[in-house]
């Protein structure tokens, strides 16, 4: 996994609540057996005027000029600014894969759906929860200022605004540690082989039917 430490990134505002994983990456693209290549189909139904198919070259497709990510000022954005309950719906990890493949490294929202939030950390994508008022301010400033960028520092758990003011955010210690170091948590768990085996031995006595 790519480590996440610090980021200075352009912000793109997606001003709608309850953005679901079907919207982030529609179902037809879930047929892929790969982990990469989902970026061109991120927000496919909002981003293009036609219906996308897997394996299609998206470069010639008609873009929806109304959709925020198609506006020239947000090209190259690495931080997605969103509203509450972002990533609700299915558990598809294709959603964070698509966001990351597109170029996003962090998402700021007042709240995230649990599974999506969890999936982000497995992929070097940092979901940042800020209070609704802070998110409101970021939306206003992003819209008012072309080229609006933020500095995210995971070690310090801060989002620093262009004027130097900062918001702090919470993150679990273990997730932070893995993300800062780009660690594969399977490897970490496998350092506890003996503990897992000891649990299984005890559990096999208590509940043998689980091991039949």
């Amino acid at each position: 996994m790519t480590p996440f430490t610090q980021l200075h990134g352009l912000v793109a505002p997606l001003d709608r609540a309850n953005v679901d994983t079907d919207a982030i990456i529609p179902k037809q693209f879930l047929k892929s057996i790969k982990r990469s290549g989902f970026g061109p189909n991120l927000f496919d139904e909002w981003r293009y005027l036609d219906v996308g198919e897997p394996g299609q070259d998206c470069r010639g497709r008609p873009l929806n000029p109304e959709f925020v990510l198609n506006q020239p000022r947000y090209q190259g954005a690495q931080i997605l600014l969103a509203r509450e309950n972002f990533g609700c719906g299915s558990s598809r990890e294709h959603a964070p894969w698509a966001l990351q493949d597109y170029g996003f490294r962090a998402i700021i929202a007042p709240s995230f759906a649990d599974i999506f939030y969890n999936n982000c950390f497995k992929n070097g994508l940092l979901p940042i929860v800020l209070p609704a008022e802070a998110v409101d301010r970021l939306f206003a400033e992003t819209l008012a200022n072309q080229g609006y960028a933020l500095d995210v520092d995971l070690a310090r758990q801060t989002v620093v605004l262009p004027d130097g003011s900062a918001f702090t955010f919470a993150v679990d210690e273990f997730r932070k540690y893995c993300l800062l170091n780009g660690l594969d948590d399977i490897g970490l768990t496998l350092q506890k082989v003996d503990t897992i085996r000891a649990y299984e031995t005890r559990r096999r006595e208590e509940a043998p039917w689980l091991f039949e």
Binding site: N18, D22, R35, V51, S111, D114, K122, L190, T195, R203
Partner: protein
Amino acid sequence: MARARLPHRDLAYVEGRRGAGFLVYNVSLQDKQAVYEMAGLTLYDKLWRAHVVDEAKDGATLLYIDRHLVHEVTSPQAFEGLRLAGRKPWRAKSAIAVPDHNVPTTRRAEGIADPVSRLQVETLDRNCADFGIEEFTMEDVRQGIVHVIGPEEGLTLPGMTVVCGDSHTSTHGAFGALAFGIGTSEVEHVLATQCLVAKKSKSMRITVDGTLGQGVTAKDVALAIIGRIGTAGGTGFAIEFAGSAIRALSLEGRMTLCNMAIEAGARAGMVAVDDKTIDYVKGRPYAPQGATWDKAVAWWRTLCSDSDARFDAEIALRAEDILPQVTWGTSPEMVATVDGRVPDPASAPSAVKRQDWERALHYMGLAAGTPIQQIAVDKVFIGSCTNSRIEDLRAAAAVVKGRRKAAGVKLAMVVPGSGLVKRQAEQEGLDRVFVDAGFEWREPGCSMCLAMNADRLEAGERCASTSNRNFEGRQGAGGRTHLVSPAMAAAAAIAGHFVDVRHF
């Protein structure tokens, strides 16, 4: 026992949702710490504790996973990860795989026409063969939707931790199990280690007391709850459904309810074990037998919340207040009672919601104030992991029997949850009831719940659907989904528009 202090914001959360017909009660601020330290255990506490392998200081827990259900969409990258790292499954026997999302529901013998879908299913077959995982292949009569076959085969048992790379894994909580959906990285993690790194959720109890009216089902209870607490109302919580109306539900009904817990934002939903749970499990192919069965039952009987258990949030509904539900928008929380109307965005509780409602009405092609029963449908879908079990098909067939699909309805399709549900329904003659009424009787799979196979809505088509998500494009790009119970979907197919199944 020591319990986390009740966070102040949770009180605000619960109290902020006090509403007509819904009692909301809570632990008072004065009770807090002293009472919490004395309180008994919730069902969720018991399930969690039984599976803790290791716990870090920050609460990150290594949780043991008893059952891993695998399907074709969220597993290929996980198996590839194992291959690249040279890892093997920790306990291959704990996993069971089935293709369900991509499978065709017609002409099954001809295989999958779409080469991309076919490759995904073939990849599952190959991965299962390579890694020694049992699979119910597309040709197997036991094949079906992963959340239908788990319980049906006795692969899901009370007290288990059950995971699957699918958010509707919450379904299995109906058995007094801790069941939740995971992403593909976690699928790989469970395959490799039999564990997950997880953090305990807060606990919420939703109590539904009383008796559900005629024609009111578990689906209506689920939608009424989501309408009340919102699609993020359960975020960060594990929900236990309790109360006399829940105890009166069959296991099929409880599965429907727990299935929709994720639509309220909760990764896990659960119901305490009772005689119905044990009766359902007994004799299933993968259920324990003999002396082991007795030992298992003895433990399963302890799987309920202690009478003095305390929850971080409590919500109560009266069963009598719940009417048949129909969603009108693009989120399951956008729901009305069948006697209601499409709401006016001007009455939305906030500016953000007003914008959401306006966008939803535009997408759905609906005008504010339209009576729900005047909304005409183009297609009807009876199926999905929410509502494709035998009880669902019986309820739909009871409405359909002796009637005909309305001329304006282009397609009414019934997709059983598994090959065994299909066989059972055919033995009961339900297939004839549907076919005689002009419905299509299909092969099992996820089908038009998410339209990964050939079953889908065309742009602008409106569907009465027994599935779980009415998101934009969910059932096909531009398609318009209204979530309802099986009986309500069947009635809409006959009438050509939504009708109140209680008077139909």
